[in-house]
Subunit: 446 residues, 2 copies
Amino acid sequence: MTRRMHLNAFLMGVGHHEAAWRHPRSAPARLTDVRHYQELARTAERGTLDSVFLADGLALAGKVRHNALGGLEPLTLLTALATVTERIGLIATVSTTYNEPFHVARKFASLDHISGGRAGWNIVTSAGEAEAANFGVERPAHATRYARATEFLDVVTKLWDSWEDDAIVADRAAGEYADLAKIHPIDHTGEYFSVAGPLNTSRTPQGRPLLVQAGSSEDGKEFAACHAEAVFTAQQTLQDGQEFYADLKRRLAAYGRRHEDLLVLPGISPIIGSTEEEAYALEEELEELIIPAYGLAQLSYMTGVELTEEHLDGPLPEVPVETEGAQSRRRLVVELARRDGLTVRQLLSRLAGGRGHRVVAGTPEQIADQLQEWFFNGAADGFNIMPPLLPSGLELFVDHVVPELRARGLFRHEYDSHTLRAHYGLPRPPSRHAARHAARREPVAV
Amino acid sequence: MTRRMHLNAFLMGVGHHEAAWRHPRSAPARLTDVRHYQELARTAERGTLDSVFLADGLALAGKVRHNALGGLEPLTLLTALATVTERIGLIATVSTTYNEPFHVARKFASLDHISGGRAGWNIVTSAGEAEAANFGVERPAHATRYARATEFLDVVTKLWDSWEDDAIVADRAAGEYADLAKIHPIDHTGEYFSVAGPLNTSRTPQGRPLLVQAGSSEDGKEFAACHAEAVFTAQQTLQDGQEFYADLKRRLAAYGRRHEDLLVLPGISPIIGSTEEEAYALEEELEELIIPAYGLAQLSYMTGVELTEEHLDGPLPEVPVETEGAQSRRRLVVELARRDGLTVRQLLSRLAGGRGHRVVAGTPEQIADQLQEWFFNGAADGFNIMPPLLPSGLELFVDHVVPELRARGLFRHEYDSHTLRAHYGLPRPPSRHAARHAARREPVAV
């Protein structure tokens, strides 16, 4: 069978461009309107995309003056998307730094039941200081956050495995609902967590919801290589994309995993026009709506350097590399400015479209060319699609780019599977206890 | 206007009777089927009920051998009910002992947006030991749980108020999305929490989701009198109901609240037949399906006394009253056994229908008589309806008891309001900051 690409629609308010809310083709009043997101999910499903994805942060962080923020909590919203779709995968971001594994395991298990096996968890460790201040703690060090994430995930998968697939007997005559021999306490005691278990939600259609990750630091890449089944990443050039892809795939073997056990999905914000001119005109319209003060605040946060209007027409000042913040995004931004010799103002324009993700303006064929190039040249197993404006940018992608990809044999014409794991070509993991039973039944070599 | 009663449908798996899953009129396989709950919510809405409600516990606690447990997390499920209903209120239980106020404030705010102002929070403090063991702590003392709940609620309402109603300007031309003067950090520092705020979800249709509570201990009643807007309670006799009702209403004044600021909704499990004989026959069918081992385990948990099959035909042994567990339910059970001189086996039958809530078997008219008696005699502002079997018990209530109540002028014929608060006759609270602005504009007496 031909290798096919995987496509995820990254749904973000009224669009990924930071000035989307000011553009006449967006409707900022729909930021808290569930039907807006339900329509987006249905559009993505009409395009037979693998999944939709919702990002998250746990603080408002004062950026709301110039951008449409203050929307809905992703996991709550995702259930509302599950109920109006049939096939598309549903991925939400949840932090391991400011949550309890019992709650997270249970909420994703519930979503997996509700959606019939379409739930995925994007695991983040919450690098922001403003987030820590909403939970009464100092921001933990980078290594601490990843150590906690590792144990958190261990507890969550133990809880997901705590009911075996055939634990429910439901024998009415005998009065036996469940076979207690197939429901296991987890009795986890570790550095960060002590959790008795079992989970109080039964085993789900996928067994374990899909694990997604997006950190690109050293710790992030090791975590992904060990645990993640799909990785979202920001890569500006084909070469960077190839290096990241090869690096991450190379790390898998150390954890006994194969090349195909983890999908790499670089982000791309496609600015689509029926002609090149139309695409560039839209790009320019959006650029003209940029508010420098907003971009400066964002860039100051990303780089850890306080930037003001006075910096706009000079080069990016020296940026400290060692940080407890979002290391990999900081490095990407600095390299982008250096490589292309950008002023701060030019850098703001380059970041406005996708916060460091690649922005490509062009016709549907040109967008498809770009995706194909990365897909065929060892930089991607698929893509994280980040439309600049929503809903229009997603509609253009589904109605014009998807047909082009299908015509080239690069993308499915219809769903041939029902769960998110199956869309991504990943197996359903057995419960660790079922595996143990199976092992016991193996003939013993003497 | 005539005083009308308020009705909440308490949705519990396949029914409130502990043997419901064994009865041919239930379908235990639907325990994790979202459509089951969606159909129940629609049935309740067809009956113009005020609200539906989902209980919760944070541990499986080993009772699953003989009962259909292991269902869906309530807040996740509630969103799925919001998307298929238009008017009915949606109440979910969330614990203040094992959560963070920032998450809880945000999730209920999101649900309030998604449902168009129909969200309610049943505040519990999680009395169980098994729950504590899933969060790596010893169960906190009763007083500690309530102290934490009080501060938790303070933080949550501060977060809900952190965006004023008119904080969103969305001025595209000027590039101003929000007026930062109307979005307030909360800077809360207390004994249990330190939370900077503001919330990262904007102010919701109800301003603040409805606050519901169900504890009946001294601490629980004081908490309710200070904070709750509706109270679910288990009361076995009219006299007990009247005493509880008067006691709770009497406590309101100390907090500057009026009689009508808090609704008291006793629980009732109606076993409905088209004749008395049919109702009694169903009651007997359910009783025959009871598994004593399950009831004994439940009763042991409630009383803190280890009960075995040997106790079945004797009286309830001495039960310690001082406890860190669920004090008020323990007292109710002991009083029930003493008052009616029940053996343990008889007590199990009385508890099987509603875990201490009142069970009434009869025709629709007889059920309506019972509701009317409590409603007219100072024991209830409405009721928490707990059908023994689901969906059939709710359908019978909506199709036969509700019309009877309407004919008597005791219940609405159609919805005349759109939010949960409005259904319950409660006002929309202003943000504390809006109130401050208003105060500033008052003329100053000199």
